[in-house]
Amino acid sequence: MSNEHTVKSYEEELQYLIDSVIKMGSLTESQMVDSMDAVIKVDKDSIDKIIKSDDEINKFRSKIDTQIMTLLVKRAPMAIDLRETISSLKISQDLERIGDLSKSNAKKVKPLPLDLPEELLANLKRLGDLVIKQLNDVLDSYVNKNYDKAKEVWEKDEQVDDLTYIAMESVIDFLSKDKKNLDFSTHLIFATKNLERAGDHITNIAETICYLIKGEYLKGSRPKGKVIQQ
């Protein structure tokens, strides 16, 4: 933001809101890192901690909602302030959904066997790493109000789709080898799908950030990878 508001407390309230979104973002990011780690390492001990961290993310969401309501009613924000306020609302919603998906993935670790094939894990990890990188980049573009970076994230979702396709294939391949793999393979399919959906929420955030910065929506539909086209 450029100049400061004449009303100092307005300035502080807006900054406090932005800080809340940033904090919520970093919590969501570390929850996703932990959740992905638990899946790859089939680490059943960390499940509870990850599930618990989701409560904290949800609390942030309610706190941000309250802050937004107060800002709207007290300040009737205009122009950049209005876009900042509405963007916080939208971003916090997407972050909460991402948190839910990470929690869901952590829960899927429980029934997994400890000897999953390496190639399958490697494909899942590549997808997970990319989604985490995307989340990190989009939050970075929010902090620095970097339009180009947000747009890059938006465009890169195509790669998330492609890696989802590859990961999916390796799970299905694993499943088709032995029927007794059916039970936990279903969990792995859901986990893969959850990562792809988290990727979609990240592109939503990227779109919101682009709108926040320029005041206009990204034109055209974003590039879509294999998994979507199927």
Binding site: S2, T6, V7, A76, G215
Partner: protein
Amino acid sequence: MNDIKIKSKNLNVYYGDKQALFDVNLDLNEKEVTALIGPSGCGKSTFIRCINRMNDVIDICKVEGNIEIDGIEINDKELDVVSLRERVGMVFQKPNPFPKSIYDNISYGPKIHGKGETKSELDEIVENSLKKAALWEEVKDRLNEPGTGLSGGQQQRLCIARAISVNPEVILMDEPCSALDPIATAKIEELIDELKKTYTIVIVTHSMAQAVRVSQKTGFFHLGKLIEVGKTEKIFKNPDNKMTQDYITGRFG
């Protein structure tokens, strides 16, 4: 987008040595509400006072440049200012009814402009004007009581009825709600919405929220210059000019 009703071209206004407006080029669309915003002393009132040549009454005021209404230059010295003001009515910040009855407040204008020759014609004008100003139901049984006895909001609607009574084409409003409570303000805003179907309206306001609510086009003035003009929604969501943004978000200083 509606046709252009009023067009100002390179408008410069001076009060003695002090220049109040600098090369203002602004088009106002017919049957639309244009809001003019900007800090005190920015020239927005000076601008609307050019539209009905109210600045003529100030000796030291000099107006240069053009203002056209329906393509006709109104700064022409030959132009009949009285008939111009018949076409361009004005409502001020503080309600200023004449110290006369409600009826006389409305009938005075038509009378001096030679409209409403008979009592029944005048009655009709008074009733229609008060109805258009959404005041009729509240005052129809006390038309002979003094206009100054009405509440502030009613007085302002009376002034709007008075402006309407001579059947103008344009209504200028200079902060018409700044002395009114929120309900009276809401009634005036509702009225503006209705009036724009018939009249071209220009409103000067210090309330951003009001500008957003009532207008389709907004112009932002600063230090006598028109900084930005555009669709109201665009101005308040995503203005092009940084100064506009700083003003509407309260960052000026």
